[in-house]
Structure formats: C-alpha cells, structure tokens
C-alpha cells in the first residue's frame, strides 16, 4: 500500500476520526484508524462501538490496501510535521506504516486489521435532508443540559422530535431543562430520537466539518449523517423521554426582564462568594423595584448586587445553583432576557426577550 495526499486535508480528517477512536477498550484494534486505500481514494474509519465515522479523502495511490494505525500516535505525529508543498506520502513497509514529508519521516507500527469491525449502515430508514448548520445549532443550544450520569439513559441524551413547523431539541438532567425549536421542513413520518449526550460532541464536530446539507437517516437503533465524503453513525437510545411539557409552568406570578450582560456580571460577582453548592439568593420585589442577587459563604464573605430590571407581579425570594442559571446564556442571543417565577418549588423560566424566541430554559430552585 502506498499513496500521496494533501497534508492539510489528511491532518483535518485524522483529527476528526481520532476523536472517535476508542480509548481503553478491551479490543486494541479499536484504538486505531483503519485506512482503506483504493484507486484515487482513501477511506479513514474509526469507531468506539457507540459512534462510528468514515471520511474519504482524495489521494494519488500506487498500491491499494488496508491498514490499521494507532490513532493517537498518527494524530500526534501528523499535527507536528509540515511540508512546503503540502504533500505527504504513506507507505506500508513490512508491516509498518512509513510517513514521509519534506523534512520528516516516521515509521508507526500497525495492528492486524482482521478484528476491526465494520461500521453499520442504516437500511430501510426514514431519510431526509437538512442543513447541518441548523442541526448543530439545535444540538448546541441544549446538549449541555443533559444528564452526565448514565442511570437514566434517556436523560443523558438529547431528545429530538418533530414539532409543528420543525424540529425540537430538548435535554434535561431533571435540575434544569433546555429546549430549542427550529423551523425545518421534516417528513411527516419522522420518529422521535434520543441521541446519547456523549456522542453529541462527535456529531457536532463531524457536522461542522461537513458544513453543507446533510442526509439524515434514523431507525430504532441508529442515526446517521451522510454528506459527500463524510459518514457518521451513532447509537440512539431506545427509550422514552418524559413528557416534559407538563413541567413547563403555564403561568407565572413574578416576571423580571433584565439585560443579559448585567445579569451575567452580577452573577459573576456573586459567584465569588457562593458556597460549595454555588447557591445564589435572588430577591425580586416589584413594589420597591428591587432585583437583587445575594450570596454568602461563611468562610469567604458575602455580597449583594442590584440589577436594573423591569419587574411585575408578586415579591419572591428564591435560591438557585449559579451554574444552572449561567449555563443557559450560551444559547441566548438577545440582549434582554425574561425570568419568570411561579412559586418556591416551581422552575424558573428563562427566555430571550427579543430576536429569535425559539429557546426556553427551566432551572429548578434549591430547597434550602
């Protein structure tokens, strides 16, 4: 096996699949990138048995063949070398892969390819095309809210379902919940899917590499994205996501509208003095026009910060975990946000006030 290709292109593709290659897995070949060289094309494959990825790369090949190269070594080596002509040559020499650029040459040991599993493809699936940019937006807006524990697989997932006029993305760890709705035309027979949270970042990375429209297929066990030279497939959770809409408060007793940046700054100050539970105490009093954030740590000190806000409704004093509030800001583009309270044991609803209003965030209060 011997081929030549553009160094930059190879670097990018290896960087992408290297993330997928398994780490500390019982089957050593899974920590490899499998490179299959055909005429004028090389296919790079990697999988950790949860996600699988394939990228094809234009090459000039002299001999066809297949080789499994430890992903980490290949990636570290490639990222350090350069070549003024941007060309790199890979050749299989007596069981080792020899990589040559202008000034550098490396020889990496390969592994037997027989045990490298095939990457499943989806047959008889529902298929539709959508913009990868939008899908990324949907995932990114919510996936940080998913549960990191694996006790409930459906909560350590991003739930994607067909909503009137598009797709809705939801994630929750039961302490907070993020929901993003996107206007995309979706075939009417689209079934709900639960994408495991830990696969989401790989999918996002692949979609960012794709940039263009992407063909999505899904069935009960898998979801795949295909566009031109990239194919990525992920396991989906075969489970039921709770009917979270019943938790969204339908009305509220107190509302505060604040500038997002003001609120972030105030929270940052408060966070210096928060306790080990990141507890912040929020006081909203529409009568005296006070919106105040207080924190107190017996070991450090305490602080009170006032935030300018438009307030309506009843007075409320309530505690939150700083982190659960702050997380939501990454998904809000508008200048102002609205905070709605509906009682001491009900979630606070955070929404953007202007611009795109397709995002909603719920944060549960603390009970002390």
């Amino acid at each position: 096996m011997k081929f030549e290709t553009n160094l930059q292109k190879l670097k990018e593709s290896v960087a992408l699949v290297e993330r997928v290659a398994g780490k500390h897995i019982t089957l050593p070949v899974l920590s490899c990138i499998l490179i299959e060289v055909k005429k004028n094309i090389a296919i790079l494959r990697a999988t950790n048995l949860d996600v699988g990825m394939e990228i094809s790369l234009p090459i000039k090949s002299q001999n066809e063949g297949i080789v499994a190269i430890p992903a980490k070594t290949l990636f570290s080596f490639l990222s350090q070398i350069s070549d003024q002509n941007h060309v790199v040559q890979l050749e299989l020499v007596s069981g080792n892969i020899q990589i040559t650029s202008a000034k550098t040459r490396g020889v990496i040991k390969t592994m037997p390819i027989e045990d490298f599993p095939s990457i499943p493809s989806i047959l008889e699936a529902e298929q539709f095309t959508l913009s990868s940019e939008l899908f990324i937006k949907g995932l990114k807006s919510v996936y940080y809210s998913a549960s990191v524990s694996s006790v409930k697989p459906e909560l350590s997932s991003v739930y994607v379902y067909k909503d009137t006029g598009g797709l809705a993305f939801v994630a929750t760890d039961s302490f907070r919940l993020a929901e993003k709705k996107l206007k995309i035309s979706i075939p009417s027979q689209f079934n709900d899917i639960l994408i495991p949270f830990k696969n989401v970042s790989e999918i996002i990375r692949a979609l960012e590499y794709i940039k263009s429209d992407v063909e999505v297929s899904s069935n009960k066990n898998l979801i795949s994205f295909r566009a031109g030279d990239v194919y990525v497939v992920s396991r989906v959770i075969d489970g039921v996501f709770p009917d979270y809409r019943q938790i969204i408060p339908k009305s509220f007793t107190t509302e505060a509208i604040v500038l997002k940046q003001d609120f972030i700054n105030a929270l940052k100050v408060s966070n210096i003095f928060s306790d080990k539970f990141n507890q912040v105490h929020i006081v909203v009093d529409p009568k005296t026009k006070v919106f105040e954030i207080q924190t107190k740590n017996v070991d450090i000190g305490e602080n009170k910060t006032l935030v300018d806000a438009a307030l309506t409704g009843e007075r409320v004093e309530i505690n939150f975990n700083y982190k659960y509030i702050a997380d939501s800001f990454q998904s809000i583009d508008s200048d102002s946000i609205s905070l709605q309270f509906s009682g001491l044991n009900r979630p606070m609803v955070i929404r953007p006030v202007s611009g795109e209003q397709s995002f909603m965030y719920l944060a549960m209060p603390m009970n002390r």
């Binding site: 949860d50 697989p153 039961s174 302490f175 396991r235 075969d238 039921v240 975990n321 044991n345 979630p347």
Partner: protein, 442 residues
C-alpha cells in the same frame, strides 16, 4: 444453553474479541428453532453477523440440533437499566423536576403511573370501578362501550388509564391505545388536510381496545362525529372494546348527534359522582403516603371537608403541603394548612340573585321576568323552583330573603319549593342533571 455455548466460543476467539463482542449477549427467546440473541448495540449486531455468525450457529447446532437459524436483536436500553445503583446518601440541594411522573408509553400512550393500586375506591365510585373490572375480565364483550362520566377531577382519566394498564398486563397480545378526543380530532383534521383519511382510519382500526377521554369536545363538530360513528361501528362489530369518558351523560351533551348518543348509551353508562367525606379522607391519606408525609387526623378531616368535589384540587394542596413541610423541615400546624387552603382553592363565587335568575332562565329558555311574576305556567314553575333551590343550597340565603327577591313571595312558598326540588332530584335524574349543568354555569 448460552452459557455453555459461550464457554466454547471463548475458546475459539481471542480474549479481546470475546470480551468486546460476547460479554453482554444473552438469548432472549427461541421460536421454532430460531434463536433470538440479544446484543447491546447495532455495532455488535452487525459484527457478530459478519464475523462470527457461522461459528456461533455451528456451536449452537452441536448442542441442540433443532436450531435452524439465529437472529440478532438489539436489547432495549431500558431492559439493561438498573445495573448501576444510585450513589447512596447523596442529596442534591437543587430540587429536581418530577419527571418520573411523565413517562408515557409511546405505543399505547398510557401513563404507567395510573394503576388500580393507587386508585381509591369509595362508595361514590364503586359502580364505575365494578363496571371497569367487568370490562377487564372480558374486554370487548361485557360492556361495550363503557362510558364513564363525571365532573372534572373525579378520577375518570385515572380509572380509564388503570383499565388500560390492567388489560395490557393481563392480555399482552392485545393492542390498545389511549387518547384524548382532542387528539383524535386534530389528527383527523390534519389527515383531511393532507388527504390521508384512509391511513388515519387504518391506523386506529388496528387496535383491540381504544380509550377516548373527554368526548364532550366533539360537541357541534359534525365531521368528527361522523368519523367517530363509523369508527364506532367497525370497532364494536368486531368485538373490540371501547371506553369513553365525558363530563356529562351522553344524553345531555349538547350538539351531539342522536345516533352517537344512542350508541354511547348502548353499553354501560356509569357516573362518578361527588366523593363522600369518608372517601375524600381516604384519598387525602393515600396522597400523603405517596408524598411521604403524615398529617394528623384533624388536618386530614379539615382538608377532606374543605375540598368537596375535586380530587385534583386535593392533590394540588397536598403537593403544596409536602413542599412546605420540606422547606420548613417541620410539620405544618392546622392554621398554616388553613392558610394554604385559603390561598390555593377556588374562592366560592359570589353572584347576585339577578345573575342566578338570568342563568337559570337562559338555561330553560324562558323570559327572565317570568320568574318574578305570579304566573303558574308549568314551564316557569320548574325553573323558579330551581332558582330557589340553588339560592338556598349553594348560596345559603335565608328563605324569607329569597322570597322577597323573587317577586315578594312568602317564605313558606320558598321552603316548599326547596323541599320539593330536594326530594325530586333523588328520583328524577333529568332534574338532577339539569341542576348539575346550571351549577357548572354559575
């Protein structure tokens, strides 16, 4: 059998391969020589098939020569759950959302939370409960359709879903589906728009049991009623069970076609009336147990006697009490609970006599003035008596002042009317339903 096979496989493949591909596999079932092998994910499914299919099959055949084929099935994540235990003793300081209450089964749309185990049976819903049990024993034949009616918050949905869950448990082969009539309507609407009415019909006709909640939404919607009528006929003729609920008896749902009315009444129509005090107390206690709080007897009695007709309201109050108990970390006193009740229950509406008269006369379609007149026409006498009854019963007005407000009648006339209506509603169901309807409009 699989354990023995695994030992042989372990010898045939490398240790790394074995632990990657075979560790989490098990035989799910065997059907006519076909073995269904459960695997953890599609990657394993594909790879076992590609690489090890023949060897596995050979090993299985050696052990049992009836084995004809091997199929791989991905095991549901839910079934693998529970291997990880929660960290003990750790209490998250942030309250968590009550998500566990909202898992709804996708296939049948039932909420598994609604079962008979947590359904309180009292004298008030005994009949409905008994009828449901008969239906469960013999679905499709005993009472078809079963029609349950009663005011909101009396447990209709709970009862119907519990019937669904129970049927599912007893007859796993039966396909059933729960929906609100609103959903039926909106799906039919989209189907008409997209020209897919046939698919819509086919989809629902494949079920053995269909439970439809809140049928009163169909009032005045002719197209929906027509579709429901056809649906009804195909369903019942083929011996499949239908269960409906509504807030009123089918005969007094306005805007319902007669032919549907007849069909609703053809099976069994049961009423869930207002729960009696004892039942309410049992309900309060049951709700407390699920919330893990204990309330003293006087509090339970107070709660049960203050919230009369709506079980859902009881649930709401218990929720608040449980939350406050948690917050304050001590048991609430009767006074605190009285306060909660005051702030959270619907205040009794105050209506003027005039408004009551107007509502009643509108209901009976008579002139408002005639109530106050001396006329003894039959169509006016009944409404007038109803007005008096309501003013006394619901607004606790004194007999003399009722008489005075209604055209200066003597208080004995009022007493007579009140007693008369009170007696009659015990036997005259039409009258009691009329009064129920008027009350809901007040």
């Amino acid at each position: 059998m699989w354990q023995t096979a695994l030992i042989e496989i372990e010898g045939a493949v490398s240790q790394a391969n074995f632990s990657t591909w075979f560790k989490e596999t098990r035989i799910l079932k065997e059907e006519e020589g076909v073995i269904f092998l459960g695997v953890p994910n599609s990657f394993t499914q594909e790879w076992l098939y590609k690489k090890f299919h023949n060897s596995i099959l050979r090993i299985l055949r050696q052990m049992n020569d009836r084995v004809r084929a091997l199929e791989y099935v991905v095991i549901k994540d839910e079934e693998r759950r529970g291997t990880e235990s929660k960290k003990g003793g750790f209490i998250a300081p942030t309250l968590s959302m009550p998500l566990q209450d909202f898992y709804i089964n996708k296939e049948d749309n039932l909420n598994p939370r609604y079962t008979f185990d947590n359904f309180v049976v009292g004298p008030f819903n005994e009949l409905a409960h008994a009828a449901s049990q008969t239906v469960i024993k013999n679905p499709g034949h005993a009472y078809n359709p079963l029609f349950i009616y009663g005011d909101t918050g009396r447990g209709k949905t709970h009862l119907m879903q519990a019937v669904g869950n129970q049927i599912k448990k007893l007859y796993p082969e039966k396909k059933l589906f729960y929906m609100t009539s609103e959903r039926f309507g909106s799906e039919l609407f989209t189907a008409i728009q997209e020209n897919k009415v046939q698919q819509f019909k086919d989809r629902y006709r494949k079920y053995d049991v269909v439970i439809m909640d809140d049928i009163q939404f169909f009032a005045n919607k002719e197209k929906f009623q027509e579709e429901l009528f056809h649906f009804f006929n195909t369903f019942k003729d083929s011996g499949r069970q239908l269960i409906f609920s509504s807030d009123k008896h089918p005969n007094i749902i306005t805007g319902l076609e007669d032919r549907l009315r007849g069909r609703f009444s053809a099976g069994m129509v049961v009423d869930i009336p207002e729960p009696d005090l004892e039942s309410r107390m049992v309900i309060v206690r049951a709700k407390c147990t699920t919330h893990n709080i204990t309330l003293p007897d006087d509090v339970v009695e107070h709660l049960a006697s203050s919230i009369e007709d709506n079980i859902r309201e009881i649930e709401g109050i218990i929720n608040i009490i449980s939350c406050q108990t948690q917050l304050k970390n001590k048991q609430l006193s009767l006074n605190e609970i009285k306060n909660i009740l005051k702030n959270n229950t619907k205040p009794k509406k105050t209506l003027s006599v005039k408004e009551v008269v107007k509502i009643v006369s509108d209901f009976y379609n008579i002139d408002e003035e005639s109530i106050n007149n001396k006329t003894r026409r039959k169509e006016v006498v009944r409404p007038r008596q109803v007005v008096m009854y309501l003013l006394r019963e619901d607004f606790s007005m004194s007999f003399p002042s009722i008489g005075e407000k209604l055209g200066g009648r003597d208080h004995t006339t009022v007493i007579h009317s009140y007693e008369k209506v009170k007696e009659e509603i015990k036997t005259d169901t039409l009258l009691s339903q009329e009064i129920g309807q008027v009350r809901s409009m007040l």
